[in-house]
């Protein structure tokens, strides 16, 4: 099977190029793309990509495979139409080959203050939540920050700095929805400008590509509704 992989080493190459590799893959193989990449790296050790847990938990191996952003470790080779084209995450600065710079992505994450804020006195043991309150976080806390969504979002392409992006907004809602968090007003005020949230045009690319099947688009809609409710 043919793999066409994006290659760029800033120390050697003047610009990026695509390189083909052929790999023998037995029919009915349940091989994931990550394993194929590791096999290719066995043949060409200059190939660079990130990976760690190899089971869709760490979020290291997000890349653009056959036109869609996905995790290499969760994408079966058999589910793809050859030739398999592997490129780095869309619109992120390439460090080398498939490894991209996450600085801006994490800045956006930091911007929404992804930690619990509560200005009431801490109880002796812990802040209690009812199962119902806890259930409100389902679908919003499982994000692994792989950047598949934000890198696939046209609104993020055009306004990478002003628009928070789907991943950051999913996290923003995760804390807005938390019954233990008391900073709701402040959090919403931070997002009120025309860009941070409102650049989302419900294109839904984020939700289509999320490897954890989460819906940043729904999180954005919930944030907008909260803003209306709070009258901000």
């Amino acid at each position: 099977m043919r793999f066409s992989i994006y290659r760029y080493n800033p120390e050697v190459d003047s610009e990026p190029y695509m390189k083909d590799y052929d790999l023998e893959i037995p029919p009915n193989s349940d091989m994931m793309v990550l394993e194929a990449l590791l096999k290719i790296k066995g043949k060409d050790e200059t190939l660079v990509f990130r990976s760690s847990c190899r089971e869709g938990v760490c979020g290291s191996d997000g890349m653009n495979i056959n036109g869609l952003n996905r995790l290499a470790c969760k994408t079966a080779v058999s589910s793809l139409k050859p030739p398999i084209v592997i490129r780095p995450l869309v619109n992120m600065t390439v460090i080398r080959d498939l490894a991209v710079d996450f600085t801006l992505f994490f800045n956006q994450y930091e911007r929404i203050q992804p930690y619990l804020q509560n200005n009431t006195e801490a109880p002796q043991k812990e802040r209690i939540q009812t199962p119902k309150e806890r259930a409100k976080l389902d679908g919003f806390y499982e994000c692994i920050l792989c950047a598949c969504c934000t890198s696939f979002c046209p609104s993020s392409w055009w306004n990478p700095e002003k628009f928070v992006g789907p991943a950051g907004l999913l996290w923003a809602y995760r804390f807005l929805a938390d019954s233990r968090d008391t900073a709701t007003k402040k959090r919403l005020a931070n997002l009120e400008d025309p860009f941070s949230v409102f650049r989302c045009r419900t294109i839904m690319n984020c939700t289509v590509v999320c490897p954890k099947n989460l819906s940043p688009a729904e999180a954005v809609a919930n944030i907008r509704r909260l803003m209306t409710k709070e009258g901000s």
Binding site: P16, G67, R87, N91, T202, N205, E218
Partner: protein
């Protein structure tokens, strides 16, 4: 030497989900209809001005090329209307899940195609 940073940004290598296609067409149709506003205003002014003006515009609209543009703009307007309506429905909280968004995207396309055909039948 510091090199210019590269990023993988080639719109031709990206696969576009149906919901994205709907969104792109929404913008294109909006732009198209918007750019034609002067033409329609001119037409309105001319037909209401005098009998000769009316006859002139009427004769012009009978030309196949112009007729096609009118059809295209009405089809684009229909599409833009339905796609906009879809967003309004989403804003009141209906159809925000991926499955529903896909369904309403397909319906938007379907309604617009039927609308374009009906407009075509009416015009020709």
């Amino acid at each position: 030497m510091k090199k210019k940073p590269f990023s993988n940004f080639d719109l031709l290598t990206i696969r576009y989900p149906l919901t994205a296609v709907i969104s792109i067409l929404h913008r294109l149709s909006g732009l198209f209809v918007f750019l034609l506003i002067p033409f329609f205003l001119w037409m309105l002014q001319t037909v209401t001005h005098s009998q000769t003006g009316y006859d002139h515009v009427h004769a012009m609209l009978m030309k196949p090329g112009i007729k096609f543009i009118v059809w295209l703009s009405l089809a684009a307007f229909g599409y833009h209307f339905v796609a906009g309506f879809r967003h309004l429905i989403m804003d009141i909280g209906i159809g925000e899940s991926l499955a529903m968004a896909r369904l309403t995207a397909a319906l938007t396309l379907m309604f617009s195609i039927i609308w374009a055909i009906l407009i075509g039948i009416w015009l020709w």
